[in-house]
Symmetry: D2
Subunit: 214 residues, 4 copies
């Protein structure tokens, strides 16, 4: 099995992006699967192009994208991506879509096609805090998850797709208010490894209640 | 114009639900529109039945449901409901769906059909903290929003639908850890009134960036 | 009774400080007491000088200082100030003390000498979220509370002293992540008014459990 | 050097206390120092007695107490303990002090006498999120820190004293709302080990700005 793992470059004034820093630390083999790692730009349009080029070049079985969710304390495996681009700040190319559909003929949303609960469960089993998230936001992270799901639904039906949000790294948190949630890049990399392992070894989704109670 | 506003009964060990407490305080007329208020049970199946009965009885132009989101500090107008029921605790009838579709033939998600940004803007203009939310969770709140959007898409295409989550009331927060976010029921009721006003007077959505930057 | 109420000027890149914006809105009379309002600089050394000058000029019975606590959702009445200056960012004059005592011969901490619980209770009674806080931080807010308590203990034993932290204003939150806690300046001003009212009318502290459970 | 490390038993409806679970995992030797581990009851009066008995029995050079701070995402090394008992819920013996001094002739507060910044720095260096905290609350955690500092100031001037708050364990967070901050007991134990190491090897406090900016 071949897993393409993508990580964004830094944005929003940060000097690093813990997503790609952690992706770089992944081994080249996990549970018998081959890991291909690429950095993609935090740009609405270009990130999608970069992922499709990598799909054509590497023909992966799974595309797992990884991004930073500053303020979250846990690793979060995203369940759903929505057909909406709404950017509170410009992306790294100055694009700032407002209330735009990502794809005119796309569905309102797509669910991840990787086993999110099994991934959360495996990360937790190894002592790293993790949970499912039901919103990937409306910025470039949601965009890459949505667009990759859209293109696989249209053109590459055998490729499975998902997204993981990671906390600030410890270094990023140091300059921020006391108590800002963070995680070491090494721990994030371990979590990604356990997530990928769960994708490879799980035939089906884990049976475990993980929902919210709003 | 006729607006049906629903509020849930208490759940999860709470003695009141600030949602229906606030709904009760709404005036019977807002900006020329008639306000119909009903309490609905915090039960996956029954809440949907109660809303459809009220739709048939009152023939409203808009259905606005309101629920409690303990822990949030602001009024949040929900943008999207997803086709998923996942209950961390049983509902008030003991139902506890896990990883179930709400509707076999429903879309993965529906966007709210009321002007969420205009509502947020009008609430803020009157001095009450508000923002858009991109997840209504996976419990009964998301369920009623999804199911009402589903049934209007299928059967009542002229009815517009949305959902508002409200913080704990001040009384609820008193027994919880210091600093627990809360809002007075009177302030919540005012926020709902401004939200309804925006639905009635706005021909179109507000133009204002409100997105996230994950 | 004469109440001196101080509010800081903006700092940390913010354009306004909701503290002084709210102080300005206070009426000149509350519950029969005279309200004197001054803006003080967000500078460790100068703020203390400004408060002592105002004490000498106005001879107040109470000094209540007000500052911004970005990120908190409730009005917080501070219980304690500590003999420590530790500045994560420089103040408005470039001073950035690290691990310094505020007063060489001061106590490790002083408790507020105003009725904090009665104030919290009165604010809540009027529908505004409030709680006691047990840390005023280590920046200029803690510094002015500590230094004013120090000087009243040493030189002005009849003057009572306290501090209130207030959330971001709604305008400040708009450019920040969705869900950032905030409160309208008008609501903050109302809370300050109820707090002052409680100081004036309460002979003794309220009897009500408000503690934490860490 | 001899280090007495205490951990509380479970309270507030929890089945475990991650504090003592982690303390149990500590090695018996850290950086040449001997580690003595005891469990103490979450009871205002008895916990202090238990610590003093252990001081007399083991004659430690350092007393480091550890407690649970549900909701915090990082390991927090406490800087200050205050002379106040205020219990939002009864302790494990039904004691529920309200607005009481812990010691009639005690100071308003004591600072920790261990190198808090050096401890935070060493924990972070090993990839675990940590920061200083300026409030240990008003419950049994603050009480044991305050009372141990009080008794060492009065009777055992050569013993250094401090307190560390730890997040919920991953197991505790599973039944709580999605995204509840937590940390594995193994990671917490590692953090405690690095904290103790810093106490043993550091002649003086680290020079590094860590303050808040309220």
């Amino acid at each position: 099995m071949k897993i393409l793992v993508t990580g964004f470059d830094p944005f929003g004034g940060e000097k690093v992006n813990p997503a790609y820093e952690a992706v770089k630390l992944l081994p080249n083999k996990i549970a018998g699967g081959d890991i291909i790692k690429i950095e993609i730009p935090t740009v609405f349009s270009k990130s999608t192009i970069a992922v499709e080029e990598a799909i054509n070049k590497y023909e992966p079985d799974v595309v797992l994208s990884v991004g930073q969710a500053g303020g979250r304390s846990n690793i979060t495996v995203e369940k759903v991506a929505i057909n909406l681009a709404e950017a509170r700040i410009p992306d790294n190319d100055g694009e700032q879509p407002m209330d735009e559909k990502l794809q005119q003929d796309g569905e309102t949303a797509y669910f991840a096609t990787i086993p999110v609960k099994a991934m959360v469960k495996n990360i937790r089993k190894h002592g790293i805090p993790a949970n499912i998230s039901y919103t990937a936001g409306t910025y470039v992270c949601n965009s890459i998850m949505y667009n990759t799901l859209y293109m696989t639904h249209k053109k590459y039906p055998n490729i499975r797709v998902g997204f993981i949000h990671v906390p600030f790294s410890i270094e990023q948190a140091v300059g921020k208010p006391d108590g800002t949630a963070c995680m070491s890049v090494e721990t994030i990399a371990k979590a990604l490894e356990f997530a990928v392992e769960a994708i490879i070894v799980n035939k089906e989704e884990a049976k475990e209640v993980m929902g919210t109670i709003m």
